[in-house]
């Protein structure tokens, strides 16, 4: 009987170099490189050794370099793995790639050789989350899991399963988009789906509403931009590899950088102008800018006429509505309009596409289909058709925006009254101008979709959409910009299963909604460091029969599992990366043999599939699967062995053809997508739900607005186990303004508690004027290091009404001195 082994996650960072060396030597002896199927892709200059490098490098060692790529949800940087005698001695960024790898990528050598890696399969030996484990063989683990899955399947069907594939490894044979892990669950017959997602749901819904879908990534094209508006996000951290392009545009063309952020972020610190607004008030600031553009004629009138539905005629109700007259009495911004925008109707005719909508032809003085050649569509005015008054969409936009005066914007957002006009004029004065929103923190708010639509309105009004270096920039990649890959194995159609909204995981598990979940399978996901109101999720795990977690380390999530399965790092398996965060397709070569008993996600899922009777399609040579994945890309494995390939047009201009997948084929300021779903079809600001000026009862107990930030040391929950990173970023840090810190007796560097009715975490205080008064900031997730510091514990589990997205930046807390009890 194997002895239970205590695993102490808090002890994960005490490794010294002596441990590391000892451990490396052990591995070096046991894991000589097999050689078969491994390619030497590049030699250092002249084939000479790369010099003394890494721990214990031998004088005569020959360095072989293997290509791989950093797979979490970041920039997918190309990495070079330097191997000597079967041991990885160094990781460097590929200098020929479009971005150069950062500290996270090159510190992966410490992940590989970390003494704290999971080494063999383990089964829970005490209470759930009690950190008592017993070692089991792979055979025993897989047989038991498969047997219990089969029994649950027989008793309660596929809906009793919940599968999480996280952002820890977005490669094709792992948990990537259209990857092998999702194919496994498809061939399993399905599982309870997670509805929407925590990341960028409100970006998707904003693009759906206004552009008819699509995404827009042009980070390589920043060199062409002449103005940057970083809005509610921090590209200096989340796109640090691409910042060189922004710096180049500044140095060569004088491009200015303006940042809107409650924090003096790394980007704000480098900006020509920094504007602080209260979290969740972005759409009000956007409407204030729109008012300035429209009032001062700082928009591209011809573009707006041709490519948007601004000239389409609108009426309200059966009798029409005299907008100009009525709007004079409308209340100032942020207060409820006396008219229900959902009652607006676009006037339609008989045609199709844009031709099915009607505009007023100023030349002919009559209504015509919007695509009528030679017509001059009116943007302004009021027109009587069949006795009913109509105004163009443009007039409604103008009337709504007119209420967002500098004073109203100041009152709502906290920004100075003169900030709005200054930014609007600057933004509109030069093209191409880029709004960098990158799945911003600003869209993870109670009305995040409106924030995104605000950005799209501004870019559309100024004619920046479809322009090289202009538009609204997102993180994106090959799969999000129109490319496609095959799943590694064929998939099937499964019966529909009711899902669980992403933000509601805890509530649904606790209340067994929409049906009881009996088994949870997690691969590369920080469920208990990312999903909100985390204490509730942990409570919900009491209702689970079986939880299986496959990971590299004993993460917070893994601690609550019944079975923990050790997974290989990216140096130990062959794989492929073609995803939604880089345009490049990359081969990931196996550099060394797997350490300990670790196995790839691909091997684990294949073994389970075989035991469950559908393994044939999975149990094939790696390269056969990879060639199948690559088939639609037109890129071959042989090409990839020479280096990463960008199959997309270069330069890439999103929406270059000005064709939009909306009912009218145009940019829809008046969104039929939103109207069909019961929301206002035009952009109007709505206050957050969880904000101190809205919820005064809550504000009495938790008066501070909490926002989550990202740091250079992690991506979601990944990289928290790299000791070279934790040496620099040692703990959760809460940023707080001196005026908020002082009455609480909190000094810089103090150990503090951050809490609300959802839970409490520990942090170190950073007292700084680099954050807005009334707002505090923590590092999102802080996954797997110390559960007492995990920010998701504080996050609300409500969702954004349009996108069902995450609202972690519409959150309220209070802060007090002293560590947690």
């Amino acid at each position: 009987m194997p002895k239970p082994e205590a695993a102490d996650p808090d002890d994960a960072f005490s490794a010294s170099r002596r441990d590391f060396l000892k451990w490396s030597a052990l591995v070096g002896g046991a894991a000589a490189l097999g050689g078969g199927g491994l390619l030497l892709s590049r030699c250092p200059t002249g084939g000479a050794p790369a010099g003394v490098s890494g721990a214990g490098a031998g004088a005569a060692a020959v360095t072989r370099i293997f290509r791989t790529a950093n797979t979490p949800e970041c920039l997918h940087c190309a990495l070079l793995a330097h191997v000597e005698d079967g041991r990885l001695v160094k990781v460097t960024g590929d200098p020929d790639f479009n971005v150069l790898a950062c500290a996270r990528g090159i510190s992966r050598i410490r992940q590989l050789y970390s003494p704290h890696r999971l080494k063999y399969p383990m089964r829970r030996a005490g209470r759930r989350g009690g950190d008592r484990w017993e070692r089991v063989t792979w055979e025993e683990a897989l047989d038991t899991i498969a047997e219990r899955y089969r029994r649950i399947l027989e008793e309660d069907g596929n809906r009793a399963f919940l599968a999480f594939g996280g952002t820890g490894n977005w490669s094709a044979l792992s948990t990537g988009v259209r990857g092998l892990y999702s194919a496994f669950w498809n061939r399993f017959g399905g599982a309870t789906p997670i509805i929407s997602q925590l990341c960028c749901a409100s970006v998707s819904s904003g693009f759906n509403a206004t552009f008819g879908g699509g995404r827009s990534e042009f980070r390589d094209e920043w060199v062409h931009s002449r103005f940057f508006l970083a809005w509610g996000n921090n590209p200096a951290v989340s796109n640090q590899g691409y910042m060189k392009n922004l710096f180049q545009a500044r140095e060569e063309h004088g491009a200015r950088l303006v940042t809107i952020d409650p924090r003096l972020s790394e980007t704000a610190a480098l900006s020509d102008r920094w504007i602080q607004i209260r979290p969740g008030t972005d759409a009000a600031f956007a409407l204030g800018m729109i008012k300035v553009l429209l009032d001062e004629g700082l928009f591209d009138e011809e573009y707006v006429r041709r490519h948007t539905n601004a000239p389409f005629l609108v009426r309200l109700g059966e009798r029409g509505y005299d907008l100009q007259g009525a709007s004079r009495g409308w209340p100032a911004g942020g207060e409820t309009l006396p008219v229900d925008l959902r009652g607006l109707r676009l006037l339609t005719g008989g045609g199709s596409g844009a031709g099915s909508f009607v505009v007023w032809d100023e030349r002919g003085g009559r209504p015509v289909p919007a695509d009528t050649p030679g017509a001059q569509a009116a943007l302004r005015g009021s027109f009587t058709i069949d006795g009913v008054r109509h105004q163009p969409v443009f007039e409604w936009m103008r009337a709504i925006a007119a209420r967002y005066t500098p004073e109203a914007v100041h009152r709502i957002t906290g920004a100075s009254a003169d900030a709005v006009a200054a930014v609007a004029r600057e933004y509109a004065s030069v093209k191409p101008a880029a709004i960098i929103q990158n799945m911003a923190g600003a869209q993870r708010t109670d009305h995040g979709t409106l924030t995104v639509i605000g950005h799209l309105y501004l870019a559309s009004l100024t004619g920046n959409v479809g322009l090289l270096g202009g538009g609204v920039n997102d993180n994106g990649g090959y799969l999000s910009e129109g490319g496609t890959i095959n799943t590694p194995v064929p998939t099937q159609r499964n019966p529909r299963i009711d899902g669980i909204p992403a933000t509601k995981l805890g509530e649904y598990l606790v209340e067994r909604k929409p049906h009881p979940i009996r088994a949870i399978h997690v691969a590369g996901a920080g469920v208990l460091t990312q999903y909100p109101n985390t204490r509730r999720i942990i409570a919900g795990l009491d209702n689970i029969d079986l939880m299986v977690v496959q990971d590299i380390f004993m993460t917070t999530t893994a601690r609550y599992a019944d079975f923990v399965l050790p997974v290989t790092t990216l140096f130990e398996t062959r794989n492929l990366l073609a995803g939604i965060r880089s345009r490049y397709i990359q081969l990931m070569e196996q550099a060394i043999e797997p350490l300990f008993e670790s196995r790839s996600d691909r091997w684990i899922m294949t073994e389970l599939a075989t035991r469950l009777g559908f393994g044939d399609d999975f149990d094939k040579p790696d390269d056969e699967l990879l060639r199948h994945v690559l088939e639609p890309t037109g890129v071959s494995l042989e090409q990839l062995e020479e280096g990463p390939v960008n199959p997309m047009p270069d330069p890439w201009i999103p929406f270059a053809d000005k064709k939009f997948n909306t009912p009218s084929g145009r940019i829809e300021f008046f969104s039929l997508y939103l109207q069909e779903r019961g929301f206002d079809p035009l952009l109007e600001y709505l206050h957050p739900v969880e904000a101190p000026w809205v919820d005064e009862t809550r504000a009495a107990r938790y008066p501070l607005q909490l926002i989550n930030r990202k740091n250079h040391n992690h991506v979601n929950s990944s990289f928290h186990h790299h000791d070279f990173l934790t040496e620099i970023w040692a703990s959760q840090v809460l940023q707080i303004h001196p005026e908020d810190a002082k009455p609480r007796g909190i000094e810089d560097g103090a150990r503090i508690r951050v809490f609300n009715d959802r839970g409490e975490i520990e942090a170190m205080a950073q007292v700084t004027r680099g954050i807005m008064r009334g707002v505090v900031s923590v590092t999102t997730g802080w996954g797997g290091v110390n559960e007492k510091q995990t920010a998701s514990i504080l996050s609300p589990d409500k969702y954004e009404p349009i996108s069902l997205g995450h609202t972690l930046n519409s959150s309220m807390v209070d802060v007090a001195g002293g560590g947690a009890a």
Partner: protein, 184 residues
């Protein structure tokens, strides 16, 4: 005599990502504890509001290496190309170099009981395989390296930067471009 090598740091291009720090540790097998290169973040509150910038610095391979002068065992020497190196076999761990250095460059290793510090990746320079790993890893080219005369000739380059000690003390082989937008 070879030309003195030097670092170049542009605060307008530094995002504070610490890739230089980690690249140094990975290249040189530096254990946890000693940090041959450190990125420090400077925060302040000027007339134009709060500001923040980063400084990436290691040993500056000074033209006047006061560390070498302070070393009682002659373990620190300056090479013809200006690289200041520690001979660990001669180091007795007296730490006087750390006292003398105004830049906190020499690091004491609890593992070995010796001092260690940035060697400008002299093994790479000598083998002709490149320059310091930190500069070559910088994703934004905020940190660069080259001969001191070339680095010093870059537009806007200065040896006076923020809170650093007076450059006349040791004549550090590093030039800076300070953040242009400090709201001071």
């Amino acid at each position: 005599m070879s030309r003195q090598v030097a670092f170049f740091f542009d605060a307008n291009r530094c995002t504070g990502c610490r890739t230089c720090e980690v690249a140094c540790k990975v290249e040189n097998g530096v254990e946890l504890g000693p940090r041959w290169r450190k990125v420090r973040t400077v925060e302040g509150d000027g007339r134009g509001g709060p500001y923040m910038y980063h400084v990436s610095m290691s040993c500056n391979h000074c033209e006047v290496p006061v560390c070498a002068e302070a070393c009682p065992s002659g373990a620190i020497t300056k090479r013809p190309d200006g690289i200041v190196i520690v001979d660990e076999s001669k180091c007795i761990g007296a730490r006087l170099c750390a006292w003398a250095c105004p830049y906190d460059a020499p690091q004491f290793s609890e593992e070995t009981g010796k001092m260690e510090k940035c060697n400008f990746c002299s093994h790479r320079i000598d083998a002709g395989t490149g320059g310091p790993a930190c500069a070559e890893a910088c994703p934004t080219k905020a940190l660069q390296w080259g001969p001191l005369d070339e680095v010093a000739a870059k537009q806007g380059a200065t040896d006076r930067f923020g809170p650093l000690p007076d450059a006349d003390i040791t004549k550090p082989a590093i030039r800076f471009i300070p953040l242009k937008l400090v709201r001071a």
